[in-house]
Symmetry: C2
Subunit: 291 residues, 2 copies
């Protein structure tokens, strides 16, 4: 009987392992999906800011115009990296966590099978005990029941070993996957933050090198009505872009991809009215991957 009780506590450990995995992987999955959605919303807000900065730049004199455009471009770059972060979190973190559902279902089925075999062993044992009490002299019946117990015990023992292997594999895979998923999460976040530091350093330079006096000179000329001068001054921009609105130019392959994402977003922006819709929010997923 003690081996049956030991098996019973063993199956409880196995069940707890699977139940906890199901519970926590489910929670990690939905929390990380929510985290990714919030990140996508942050990207959307910053994208809106980029557009406003570009519009504003066009109302300013050349000095501030160039500063604001270049700053907006850097801010847009950070959002492209954020977009890449969102896509990577979807693929390397949320998706593997979702797959766990199927994996756990399968293991649950194995445990159920074992429990039935375990129940049969108990039944045979009870039958034998009853016989021993009711008809202790019926050697033949007792012998038959003993054979039944033995057979059930062998079955239970065999399937216990099978299940042990299943759970061992399950746990090993779970621990490995957990390590891998969170390592991926940390790597994705680390890459994004490192890129953001890089781009913001450039943005800092841009803003710091803004020449207020030169800008005020232009403004004063404009205010005093000497038109023509302030537009004639060469457009001080580090890139070779013409003086047309930023969003319409494609200066390099990277910028083109970026602009496409942004253009697409502008097209979609009318559909974005239900801003807090969680489905709407991750629509960025399908976009061209960014570096």
């Amino acid at each position: 009987m003690s081996i049956v009780l030991s098996r019973d506590s063993q199956v409880r450990v196995m069940e707890d392992t699977v139940t906890d995995a199901e519970k926590y992987f489910g929670q990690f999955c939905s929390l990380l999906a929510a985290y990714t959605r919030k990140t996508a919303r942050l990207r959307d807000k910053a994208d809106q800011l980029v557009r406003q900065l570009t519009d504003f730049a066009n109302t300013e004199n050349p000095e501030m115009r160039a500063t604001m455009r270049n700053f907006a471009e850097d801010l847009a770059k950070v959002q492209d990296y954020r977009q890449a972060e969102v896509e990577r979190l979807e693929t390397k973190v949320i998706w593997p966590l979702k797959l766990y559902g199927a994996h756990i279902k399968q293991t649950r089925a194995e445990i159920k099978k074992f429990k039935q075999v375990q129940k049969n062993e108990m039944k045979q044992l009870e039958k034998l005990e009853k016989l021993r009490q009711k008809s202790p002299s019926d050697r033949q019946m007792i012998s038959q029941a003993e054979t039944g117990v033995q057979r059930a015990s062998v079955d239970a023992s065999r399937i216990t070993h099978q299940l042990e292997e299943v759970i061992d594999t399950f746990q090993k895979q779970k621990l490995k996957d957990l390590q891998k998923i969170f390592l991926d999460f940390v790597t994705i976040e680390m890459v994004f933050h490192a890129k953001a530091v890089e781009v913001y350093s450039s943005a800092f330079q841009i803003l710091e090198s803004y020449d207020l006096d030169r800008d005020l000179e232009d403004f004063r000329t404009k205010m005093h009505g000497v038109y023509g001068h302030y537009d004639a001054r060469p457009f001080k921009d580090t890139t070779s872009s013409p003086a047309v609105p930023w969003a319409l130019t494609g200066q390099s392959a990277q910028t083109t991809i970026r602009s496409q994402r942004r253009d697409k977003e502008e097209e979609e922006s009318t559909e974005h009215s239900a801003e807090e819709d969680p489905v709407e929010d991750l629509r960025g997923q399908g976009r061209a991957p960014q570096q």
Copy 2:
């Protein structure tokens, strides 16, 4: 008459300057406030993940338990830096942008005053023109009207200079503030991202040094029912924390502050049901500042 027209176009430049500033500063303010709110939501989601990771850690064997606790602690650190980011954005970016409302109102009043003086000049000029056409011989009346025009013109000229100074100061301040506000924005973001890179690097080390084999050994012992062993093994944790849930321990001053923030959040979490409420969302502002 041409000087009046020139003044008219001058005042239009001035008005545009103030109108554009009002429009864009307002938009920047609301977009950056939204950006800050989304950041606060991202922090909330990550805080929830921290709590789940800690709960999960308690269901695992010592090896994974220590790994998950230390990882959760690092993830919590990132949220503390995010909290500092939110508070700094509020103080150094959103607040100064909000103050612009009052500043612009004042400049608007100055322009209005100028326009009335300008209108009076126009009226005097029209009066003179009419007189010259209707009674070109009435020298006395024409002379009086001419004096009226001269006086109005002197007034307009005087107030134009005053307004020029007001607008000049306004524009100078606007450009300076704009540079300062966005430099502060970039600095705040840069500091946050740099800190995040630092903490995630540590988190990466923690996850990578996780010993799967040792953990599986413990699991197998547990599954085979040799109780007592896996709990007796010394708790492998780099910190000196006892084996009680992480959120309840205060290992250092910094951790204590952090835990307080987290405890406070847990208390408040029941009130957080209206998750998308924009006012609810920035309630973090009042918390103890983090480094």
